[in-house]
């Protein structure tokens, strides 16, 4: 059964700037720690961090972050003010080459990455499943 619409809460909302990337990562860790076991927490936090870093580097330099609990799922949406994105998430580059690995990591380390082009920029959302019994 899909969780009821009323079962939604906002855990964290913040503005993203370059200087605040580390602080935001720590805030997301603190906010998500109650719901996710250690390994999943670290995966989710890195995924969110990659999205905020992307917003700073490629998304116009700033954005908004919203961490939400939706029933038995934890989602984090990062919206930026950049040109948006066309095409697929880039594949991982050759291991010995520098390159953009952020979005692919975010996709790999979570239950899903969804990208939407909006009138104001790119919206990227990652999701993690909350373990049974910790969903409330």
């Amino acid at each position: 059964m899909v969780s009821a619409r009323g079962d939604e809460s906002l855990s964290l909302a913040a503005l993203i700037t370059a200087e605040q990337v580390p602080e935001l990562r720590h805030a997301v860790t603190a906010a998500a720690a109650a719901g996710l076991p250690d390994e999943e927490l670290k995966d989710f936090v890195l995924a969110v961090h990659e999205l905020t870093t992307n917003a700073v580097r490629h998304g116009g330099g700033s954005g908004q972050l919203a961490l939400r609990r939706l029933g038995d799922q934890l989602t984090c949406q990062v919206s930026d003010h950049g040109p948006g994105m066309t095409g697929q998430v880039p594949a991982l580059p050759d291991p010995t080459r520098p390159g953009r690995r952020g979005l692919r990591l975010a996709q790999h380390l979570t239950a899903g990455l969804v990208l939407d082009n909006t009138p104001t920029g790119l919206s990227a959302t990652v999701t993690a499943a909350l373990p049974k019994g910790k969903a409330r």
Partner: protein
């Protein structure tokens, strides 16, 4: 800057190599300083071991710095090894396929190097 408190680097020079021990959290705010540190260290030491045993976080921008340093080292006839990654750092280096290429081979001595 916040980033000053997030991470630290310590470099030990041995006859056959330098060992750079990184601790804390490395992210985009550390990119420029880490790149400069590795470039400088590689200039003086063709073989550099980067000890990750005290590192708790790294992101994709740091992966690019490490991989670029590895490229620079091999182009100059040396090498750069990643040693002792733990926890999530090990996981990230593994899922990106980087660790098997940048960790020392079976014949290499694990840190600390054979040095009295």
């Amino acid at each position: 800057m916040t980033s000053d408190n997030l991470w630290q680097a310590r470099t030990e020079t041995h006859p056959d190599r330098a060992v750079v021990t990184l601790s804390g959290e490395l992210d985009i705010t550390a990119v420029d300083q880490l790149r400069d540190l590795l470039t400088t260290t590689l200039r003086a030491n063709p073989v550099v071991d980067v000890d990750l045993s005290r590192l708790t976080f790294l992101d994709s921008t740091i992966l690019s710095v490490l991989v670029t340093a590895y490229q620079d080292a091999t182009a100059a006839g040396g090498t750069l090894n990643l040693i002792n990654p733990i926890g999530h750092v090990h996981r990230v280096l593994t899922v990106t396929g980087i660790l098997p290429l940048l960790e020392p081979g079976d014949t290499a001595e694990a840190t600390p190097p054979h040095h009295a």
